[in-house]
């Protein structure tokens, strides 16, 4: 059975994004292949202005759920209703390597239906705020991982979406950019943008309105579940490590999905 999608829509209870009874399995088209069920009836809802953290162990289906909510992956069953414009920041930067940063904005901006002035304004605003303005003429494949991730995030933000779906958006960020990211996210939420974010950082719980856990194919509320948060968060005291690394400027990297201290000396990428 194919999943159904309704977009755009307005919800009677204010939800701007809702997925119901989503099922998804991965398998081979060969009859001898193994089928792996990932989601077995997941429900998810997002209302304007809230920031929701999505946690879960590796392979639990967090990214699959997000891709289905965005619409780039079809569900086997279930439905998704979207009530507004969507910005999606995938885990891996999905950009065109041989285009410059400015050209990347032109291309994706034209996809969003923005005119040239709006593209330029969004590009300059986000480049300044996320501190990649000096790399606008650099090609994507000449950027460091952190700067590439900044562009990846900025592309998701450039059209001021109503719904923002972020899959570990700060991978490779330095501490300052990580803080800038949260400033932007909190500003957007204050303006009514609904934000869902796959996160591993336990310290972020204070910034999140809700936390949901993807486990055994379904989504459950884990806002007050200390065990689940402890289990899926990065090591305790992470923020202290970033601050220490930042002040030392030693380029320390850490757990996947974590912000990093400033780029190391040996990297010749921008």
């Amino acid at each position: 059975m194919e999943g159904t999608v309704h977009t755009p829509t307005s919800s009677t209870d204010g939800a701007v994004l809702r997925g119901e009874q989503i099922e998804k399995s991965y398998g081979s088209w060969l009859p001898i292949g193994r089928t792996t069920p990932v989601l077995t009836g997941a429900n998810f809802e997002l209302t304007p202005g809230e920031i929701v953290g999505i946690v879960g162990e590796n392979g639990s289906g967090k990214s699959t759920l997000m891709k289905i909510l965005v619409g780039v992956l079809g569900a086997d069953a279930g439905s998704v209703e979207r009530g507004g414009t969507i910005g999606w920041c995938p885990q891996e930067p999905l950009l065109y390597d041989r285009l410059t940063v400015a050209e990347t904005f032109d291309l994706f901006g034209s996809g969003y239906g923005m005119d040239e002035a709006a593209i330029r304004e969004a590009r300059d605003r986000l480049a300044e705020r996320l501190e990649f303005d000096r790399y606008l003429d650099y090609r994507i494949d000449a950027l460091s991982g952190g700067n590439r991730q900044k562009v990846n995030l900025a592309v998701a933000l450039m059209h001021d979406p109503d719904v923002l779906l972020l899959d570990e958006p700060y991978t490779g960020f330095d501490w300052d950019t990580y803080l800038h990211f949260w400033d932007i996210a909190e500003d957007l939420a204050a303006d009514g943008t609904a934000i869902a974010m796959i996160s591993h950082l336990i310290e972020e719980r204070t910034r999140l309105d809700r936390i949901v856990e993807v486990r055994d194919g379904v989504v459950r509320d884990a806002t007050h579940d200390e065990d689940a948060i402890e289990e899926h968060g990065a090591t305790s005291g992470e923020a202290d490590q970033f601050e220490a690394a930042d002040s030392a400027g030693d380029g320390a990297a850490d757990a996947a999905g974590s912000p990093q201290a400033p780029d190391s000396e040996g990297d010749d990428r921008a």
Binding site: V5, V80, E92, L95, G113
Partner: protein, 260 residues
């Protein structure tokens, strides 16, 4: 003074803008890939002379005449264009498949995105054909140079679209490259009047290069247009276009475009 009102572009204007931006950026992507440029420039010289001399060097038999060097060079030019255009078509479809899906999610119609790819690909193919034609014209004397160039470009476009189709169906660079190169070499050999391929079955006439080769031969040696072959090639291009559009559209299907 009232605040400036931002006008939303019409759907048609938006499509035109996306097409223009897409074609420009696709061409830039090609130019910024040095291997593409090297292939486009170096391969014609190697293939036209190499393939031409090897075909002309095949032995004459009691029932078959040897291939003249000029015809060998012509066949080399077709092969050179076909291989480069086919590989370019293939890589265009494979290299950014995931980024394409993201772009489609933003609102780019798959058909518009594909159109930007194929337009850029056709432009680059014409440039590749021009290089091949210059090498060919330097070593032979075509009766109708403009027609010879045009049909060389047409042969390239056939293979460019074929490469794009292979890339859409088989999105793996190594396997796809093998398919395109093997197909082009077999096609050029079987379609190419080789005495070693004298008893080929009739279905060779449906091979992608068979009719372009007939077109080229008529233009180069007789200065004429083989209209039947031209109609066949035009139909071939349309069928390939329909097939690649259908496959690309299916692979790029997303249901989460942002709502206006």
């Amino acid at each position: 003074m009232p605040p400036a009102v931002r006008r939303h572009p019409t759907a048609r204007a938006m499509t035109v803008r996306r097409l223009a931006a897409g074609v420009r950026l696709n061409v830039l992507t090609f130019v910024r890939t040095p291997l593409n440029v090297v292939l486009a420039v170096a391969l014609p010289i190697v293939v036209i002379e190499g393939w031409g001399r090897s075909m002309a060097g095949l032995p004459e038999t009691p029932t078959m005449e040897a291939i003249p060097l000029t015809l060998g060079r012509l066949l080399g030019a077709i092969l050179g264009v076909a291989i480069v255009a086919g590989l370019l078509g293939l890589t265009q479809m494979i290299s950014a498949r995931e980024a394409d899906r993201r772009l489609v999610q933003t609102g780019y119609e798959p058909r518009t995105l594909l159109a930007t790819r194929l337009l850029a690909l056709s432009g680059v193919t014409v440039a590749v054909a021009a290089v091949n034609f210059l090498v060919l014209a330097a070593t032979t004397s075509p009766e109708a140079p403009v027609l010879t160039f045009a049909f060389l470009a047409l042969a390239g476009i056939v293979y460019a679209f074929l490469g794009a189709l292979v890339g859409a169906v088989l999105p793996r660079l190594f396997e796809g490259s093998l398919v395109v190169v093997f197909l082009a070499m077999m096609d050029a050999f079987l379609s190419g009047d080789s005495p070693l391929a004298a008893d080929v079955p009739d279905f060779v006439t449906y091979f992608p290069l068979y009719h372009p080769k007939e077109l080229l031969r008529a233009a180069m040696f007789e200065g004429t247009v083989a209209t039947g072959d031209l109609a066949f090639v035009a139909g071939y291009v349309l069928v390939l276009l329909a097939a690649v559009t259908a496959v690309f559209g299916a692979t790029m299907q997303v249901d989460g475009r942002w709502s206006a």
